[in-house]
């Protein structure tokens, strides 16, 4: 599975984007997000970006007011996931131009599409920004 879920959460702990690669019920999601957000947001800058949670790991990184949290299997490469988060942010930055929390709020479906271009079935399939963005731009033109 590799990546199990990707969350974007703001400083107040509100979820701004949630993408799961395994089926969880709404209740499970609510509980999971609550626990994770409590665990990760309490940590400070001097602490490492990896948190063990239940039987998997969470790799997170903060950009401005947004936390990007990725839940991964135990043998996943943490540093690669950090790079993946960075790539995601850069991609969104290129698309939106100086991306901020509001961009993601109002263009949630686009953010989802970018994720879908990058990750399928829990594994990273695309890492080139141009490749990720070109279908999205094409689709935008089409509609």
């Amino acid at each position: 599975m590799g990546i199990r879920f990707i969350l974007m959460v703001n400083k107040q702990g509100q979820t701004r984007l949630a993408q799961y690669y395994e089926w969880l019920t709404l209740e499970e999601r609510r509980a999971l997000e609550g626990e994770i957000v409590r665990k990760c947001l309490a940590r400070n800058e001097q602490q490492c970006s990896f948190v063990e949670h239940r039987n998997y790991k969470i790799v997170y990184r903060r950009y401005a007011s947004l936390f990007f949290l990725v839940g991964v299997d135990n043998d996943e490469n943490e540093l690669a996931i950090l790079e993946f988060i960075h790539l995601l942010v850069e991609t969104m930055d290129r698309h939106f131009g100086n991306v901020c929390e509001l961009d993601i709020m109002f263009h949630l479906e686009k953010a989802h599409f970018m994720l879908e271009e990058m990750v399928m079935n829990g594994s990273v399939v695309e890492t080139s920004k141009a490749n990720i963005l070109s279908p999205i731009q094409l689709m935008e033109k089409a509609s």
Partner: protein, 937 residues
Amino acid sequence: MSGPSLMDSLFQRSLEDLIKGLRQQLIGEQAFISKSLEEIRKEIKSTDLSTKSTALLKLSYLSNLHFHDMSFAAFPALEVLSSPRFSHKKIAYQAISLSFHDSTPVLLLITNHLRKDLNSTNEFEVSLSLQCLSRIANVDLARDLTPEVFTLLSSNKLYVRKRAVAVVLRVFEKYPDSVRVCFKRLVENLENSDPQILSAVVGVFAELACKDPRSYLPLAPEFYKILVDSKNNWVSIKVLKIFSKLAPLEPRLAKRVVEPICDLMRNTGAKSLLFECIRTVVTSLCENESAVRLAVGKVREFLVDEDPNLKYLGLQALRIVAEKHLWAVSENKEVVIKSLSNADPNIKIESLRLVMAMVSEHNVSEISRVLVNYALKSDPVFCNEILGSILSTCSRNLYEIIVDFDWYVSLLGEMSRIPHCQMGDEIENQLIDVGLRVKDVRPELVRVARDLLIDPALLGNSFLHGVLSAAAWASGEYVEFSRNPLELVEALLQPRTNLLPPSIRAIYIQSAFKVLVFCLHTCFMRGKNIAPSASLDNMPAGVSASASYESFEDFSVENGADAAVVHDQTCASAPITKESIVNILNLVELALGPLLGSHDVEVQERARNLLGFVDLTKPGILNSSIQEKEDSEGKGVETSKIIKLMHDAFSKELGPVSSSAQGKVSLPDGLVLKENLGDLEMICGDIEPPSSNSFSFGSPYEEEKDGLSFSNLQIKEANEQSNESTSLLAEHRKRHGLYYLPSGKSEIISNDYPPANDPTLQGDINDNTDDLVKLTAESLVPKRKPNHGKPRPVVVKLDEVDEKPVARKQPESRDDSLSGAVRDILFGSEDIPPTSSQSNLSNSSKRKGKEKLHTDPHMESKESAVGDGNSSSRRRKDRSQGKERRHRSPRKKDDKERKDTGQKEKKKGSGRHKSRQRAEEPLKVPAQTPVIPDFLL
């Protein structure tokens, strides 16, 4: 009212309106959402697809971020899906990926939609539907859409093909039979030069190899080529993951990949790739000394880095290395121990685990001492983390690393006094466990227990109640080692015990009973000049009761208060006089009187027992105290009889009992067990031992004259003089021999540590950290010491209970069918049943034997296979096929008698079958058959 009107759709809120609305609600967000949901429910029934899709979009948003159920929209989502407009489809697919799961009722209705879109000429439609399939595929969908996915696997549109490759994983998982159809195309994609395809296909294989690595060994050459050629770090990381699974299965493969991995490690600038290399080396290539050295060197760079992420990962990597190469930890111990005081709790815990990995029987006491000091200074969470790991490390394998149990017991006592300690239950278990198992530790255990019991402050801490109950039990059970039993009675009956929960209070009272009986017995038997009983004889020389025997009358009553005296080894402590006994009896009556009305049955019962005993004996004692030492007729004798009786009842030692001990008791003659319980035998059959009744750990004191002598190393068979026959005993020993320590072991072990402050290492020690660094340095150097320390006492072991469960995990059945299918394809042997990894093994071992004969040509071919990575793969395969033929002929001769030939025919058959299936590429099939490891390795 029922259907939405035109006005509704005209003035429908868009998603943007919804979000803006949400943002304006400071309070009452919930009300706003439920109002919007109300609207959505209406809009989604609209016949206008635009209205419907907007409603669906809003609903997806609310479901995704605000956890609102959208299962009611399953059917409308399908309706929107059938829209010809792409933008509608997009919304529908997203909603479906988000909300559909295996038990969604309309799931089956989606098959045709998906099929239509998979066959679409618009690559984005295909992509959307593949994406959706990867999220929601169940068995039926996977089965029905396998042909479409198969076609797309060789689509000439890269964008589509990449996604088809990625979706295959889910299809395989859900419907293993699809492997037979798709696997070869998947493998072909491994040789694709396009980085996008490669990255997808390697990702799929990394996941597949995780579940059942052995099936993918034949693909090692392809993976090797990717490892060497890849320029993409993502791909390299995935390939490394594959090799870390494959390498342990095939030593020759491990030798092959070490070099390229080390090269990567030396040359790469990417930390993520470097870390993956390190992890691969330490998990799967740990036999290769030079690679491990290199990896540990890189780990060190991580450890000293300022970045907490690297530090954390470095510690983790070190923990993996530590299992096989402890030197790696000791080389980096300063960093590890410094990390104990890192700001990050995760790093602290990681380094704590590493410190515990360094513990050995030589340094356990020093490391524990320093860690306990750390625990005193730490926050509650980490404090308990430390205590927990000390407890679990020390008790591992029945206290394997503990030599000095006196020290350990006092450490347990010390740990329970740490303010944040919440490990009371574990300490309780270990105190009792050690007391039962290790006879020699009991005097110290009683001393520790006494210290805990007389401290009234501890009673207020509810986390410690478990520890206190263990202490109470120990002081009652092993009271004969106590220097001042009267003090114990007082401690057990002190007023603050009302803070204890009833169950523990009952233990307190029962222990007080035992102690009291012991006091009376000691006093009475002496007072009457009766020859000392066996148990008195048994007491260690330092025990006061015997020591003060002569000067009995000269001592004044002093107990409780003179704790200092009790501590002192040389000084005889408070004696037991008649007055003190009477005082104690009064105290018992005073303390327990109110408990006769207790609501707790246990407490009431025990209190009644004890008071009844006091009632019985008190008159006799008062009587005899008047008459002093004279032998009194009548009552006095009666009292002493009662006391003796009770004493005997309590003096029988309790041994640890195995959970299967009941089964070892043979059926007494004439006892007929109910016949209708006979079927229980089947249930208990697996724990039924061979019939013997000689299993017993009870070791009555009377038969053990010198059990306390420390020089007595050997396990004393306690029941030597009992009426059990010696033949039974011998049988018992034979059968249970493994529960006893081999006599040799305790001779080697010694606790003759070098002093913690070794002058040679005396540097700038100002901190515990340096302390620990130093001592681990010393104790990690393995040394043999002459055996002139205190020998390790005997630890009684039980049978099955203490043994580690030998759990052989069967591979999961689902994986089996998947890997079975994969094997069918790769090994070309269609009738290898899924579980027959054994036949597989023997197969490969046969091959291995073969290779010994052909070492040189293989090396050659391997080199060239790697070298001509750019030349056409066709050529390579031709050669390998030729090789295969060359190999076959000698093998045929060698193993003619075996069924090898039969198997080969099967291979040929399957090969033919496959070439029929994929006629355009006939050479592929033989290339994948089992010869492949040969030309790689």
